[in-house]
């Protein structure tokens, strides 16, 4: 493995670590995972391209300040530069043919969503460097809308509708017992219709106690920037518009 020895030999200075992607390859060989089989051939291809670059080593003027932080991050950088590898991730996108449900020709979209979620989570911890050669082309719009609706919207909708129905039933009963106004007559009244609207919106918007706080914070946040612009005019409005 002459390639690995060449890679292991350059001194792991902060400078080369930062600029050259290839010296971090050794971390990959040390990983005792199944990824090793798939990644080794890829790594060697990249190393071939990387070595001329590193051998054409150029002097690097790093400011002294960056060195301590860089040295610190060296070890995590070394582990972080490995690429995401999965049997079904081919050419920068998920190979949908490998996601077929057992025995049918349909794609298992739930599995695709899970796989992509796992990939993004992995990338959070191990950011990959971009390259012009293998571009990522997968984006979530490839997954059809109904797959999303079926998996995420429908269960939630069922829950909320159930809550709304229960609240509605008991409120109608309660109002009827207090005022004697039946359900049909309640619906004819504007005030009742308003209450109904508030109840529906409330069920949609407020699902936990924390949601109230979130809504308040959101409103405050949205108007914050506007307030900063209006600050220049506050002086004037409080009457200090005397000409100087």
């Amino acid at each position: 493995m002459s390639i690995s020895t060449t890679l292991l030999s350059p001194p792991p200075t902060a400078t080369s670590r930062l600029l050259f992607h290839t010296p971090t390859r050794p971390a990959l060989f040390l990983r005792p995972t199944t990824f090793l089989r798939l990644s080794a051939p890829r790594a060697s291809v990249e190393n071939g391209a990387g070595i001329p670059a590193s051998s054409a080593a150029v002097a690097v003027e790093e400011p002294a300040k960056a060195k301590p932080e860089a040295a610190e991050k060296e070890s995590s950088n070394g582990a972080a530069a490995s690429k995401f590898v999965d049997g079904r991730w081919i050419g920068g996108t998920w190979d949908l043919k490998q996601f077929k449900k057992d025995g049918s020709m349909e794609t298992d979209w739930d599995a695709v969503i899970d796989a992509e979620a796992r990939r993004r989570k992995w990338l959070e911890a191990n950011p990959e460097s971009t390259s012009n050669d293998d571009l990522i082309v997968f984006d979530t719009s490839i997954i059809p809308w109904w797959a999303w609706v079926k998996r995420y919207h429908l269960p939630e909708a069922e829950l909320l509708n159930g809550r709304a129905a229960m609240i509605g039933f008991f409120m109608a009963y309660f109002v009827d017992s207090l005022t004697g106004v039946g359900l049909v007559d309640q619906m004819g009244n504007f005030f009742c219709k308003t209450l109904l609207f508030v109840a529906v919106v409330g069920v949609l918007v407020i699902r936990k106690n924390e949601d109230l706080e979130t809504v308040k914070k959101l409103v405050e946040e949205t108007t914050f920037y506007d307030k900063q612009w209006q600050a220049a005019w506050k002086d004037e409005n409080t009457g200090s518009s005397k000409k100087e």
Binding site: D114, E124, T130, W148, W229, E244
Partner: protein, 460 residues
């Protein structure tokens, strides 16, 4: 005239008001006053512009062209590079008559890269052949604008301003203490325009208040020719928690090197970490490069609470005119300078009358807010929604693939105007935005990502 006056008194006579009005809503007689500024005799209005960047130079040029005696203070007249992206919108070339030979590069393609390295090409299909983003060197642009202000009649004072004395009455002048070639001198002026950047001394003197700043950090890297060829007309934007928690990281081509940098508001102490992150992300594209310069600079995040006080007006970075989301400041600096200069010229009627705070507010602040506050607010909204979390950033990049979005973005950036909106396309874009945000949040959350697009919490 008499009839009108009579009708006026009839209409507003409190004794004849209709009875259904609430007593607390008493209409007082309308008083209209006309006031005019005191004329200056024997000389023209004297205005000092402190800071000779794009803002200061534009202000000085507008003032001098209007007949005002202008003094432009600039402490650094050598051509040391300023830490700056260096990109200006296309309309600035026209509006400020910037000669094309100052433009180092014309960026015609942009790439935006998501945290999962999804790369979207921005502009290769939607930019028209005559459209591009001009990249300039700040020192070249600044010195050109300064010399043009000088030719318009402004007096360039190559000195460092050390103190600004604010007078206690309207009749007294402002005193500018400055260090000219080692000598401390004082200049008395009627009004001051503060264009001295993010750490404005003028702003401190008038207690203009503080603003939150982002720290922008960049390294200029000279690349080998083949790598530089890739960036010949391409600028890249990277988003992700590894490169910036609340801003973006960039690779911008400059005259003969690239600037690789990032910025952050909330985690300034970790800026080096984020710089590492962006270097890691572009490691293959900049391998073999040599760092020739490292620079950092604060970027204001919002306007100062006070932008005009007394006869002092703040413009440009000193006022905080930097958009969120894109961090663009050069154009707004120059426009605010010009607007402020023209405001002073108008209020003083060509330098013949004294001016006051109300003039500056009316002619400059109100015009500025009327024209640009919406733009700033909109970009703040965009930043809030799309820079929140990795999931939101993924959605942003997905959206950027849409041609309508690209067209809208370019029109609003390059020409500072809203392009013709197509109702259906707008609806489709909005639906697409919501859809992308929801999808990316689901995918981000599926294994405990921690996405925080709270607004969409309701709909998922």
């Amino acid at each position: 005239m008499a009839a009108a006056a009579q009708a006026h008194s009839l209409l507003f006579n409190p004794h004849q008001k209709p009875s259904h009005r609430r007593p607390s809503n008493r209409i007082r007689p309308l008083t209209i006053t006309a006031a005019s500024n005191a004329p200056i005799t024997g000389r023209k209005l004297r205005v000092a512009v402190i800071g000779g960047g794009p803002a200061g130079s534009s202000a000085a040029e507008a003032l001098a062209a209007g007949g005002i005696e202008t003094f432009l203070f600039e402490r650094n007249n050598t051509k040391t590079p300023k830490p700056c992206g260096g990109a200006i919108p296309l309309c600035m070339l026209d509006e400020f008559d910037i000669p094309l030979h100052l433009v180092d590069r014309r960026v015609t393609r942009m790439k935006i890269v998501s945290p999962s390295n999804l790369t979207v090409d921005f502009g290769s299909k939607t930019l028209k052949p005559h459209e591009y983003i001009p990249m300039l060197r700040r020192e070249v642009l600044d010195s050109f604008l300064r010399s043009r202000a000088e030719s318009a009649g402004a007096q360039l004072v190559p000195a460092l301003v050390t103190r600004l004395d604010v007078p206690s009455s309207a009749a007294e002048p402002y005193l500018i203490h400055h260090n000219l070639n080692g000598q401390i001198r004082t200049l008395a002026v009627d009004a001051v325009v503060g264009a001295d950047g993010a750490n404005s001394r003028v702003a401190k003197s008038i207690n203009a208040g503080d603003y939150a700043v982002a720290m922008a950090f960049q390294e200029r890297i000279r690349l080998p020719d083949d790598k530089m060829e890739y960036y010949r007309d391409l600028a890249e934007m990277y988003v992700g928690d590894d490169v910036s928690p609340d801003f973006y990281a960039w690779v911008f081509p400059k005259c003969d090197h690239v600037a690789v940098g990032t910025g952050t508001v909330s985690s300034k102490q970790s800026i080096k970490l984020y710089q590492q992150g962006i270097r890691q992300r572009v490691s293959q594209k900049i391998s073999g490069g040599r760092v020739i310069r490292v620079e950092a600079h604060p970027i204001p995040e919002h306007p100062r609470p006070v932008r005009v006080r007394g006869r002092v007006a703040l413009i440009g970075d000193a006022a905080g005119y930097v958009t969120k989301c894109s961090g663009e400041g050069i154009y707004f600096a120059a426009r605010s300078g010009r607007m402020c200069g023209e405001a002073i010229v108008k209020a003083s009627e060509g330098g013949d009358k004294a001016i006051g705070e109300a003039d500056l507010r009316r002619e400059y602040l109100r015009q500025w807010d009327g024209e640009f506050a919406t733009t700033f607010r909109f970009l703040d909204g965009l930043q809030r929604v799309f820079y929140r979390s990795n999931a939101a950033r993924e959605a942003l990049v997905e959206l950027c693939g849409d041609e309508y979005v690209q067209r809208m973005t370019f029109d609003s950036y390059l020409y500072k105007r809203l392009a013709e909106r197509n109702g259906w396309e707008d609806l489709r874009m909005f639906a697409g935005t919501v859809g992308s945000l929801i999808r990316c949040r689901i995918v981000g959350r599926a294994r405990g990502y921690g996405g925080e697009v709270e607004l969409l919490n309701r709909f998922v």
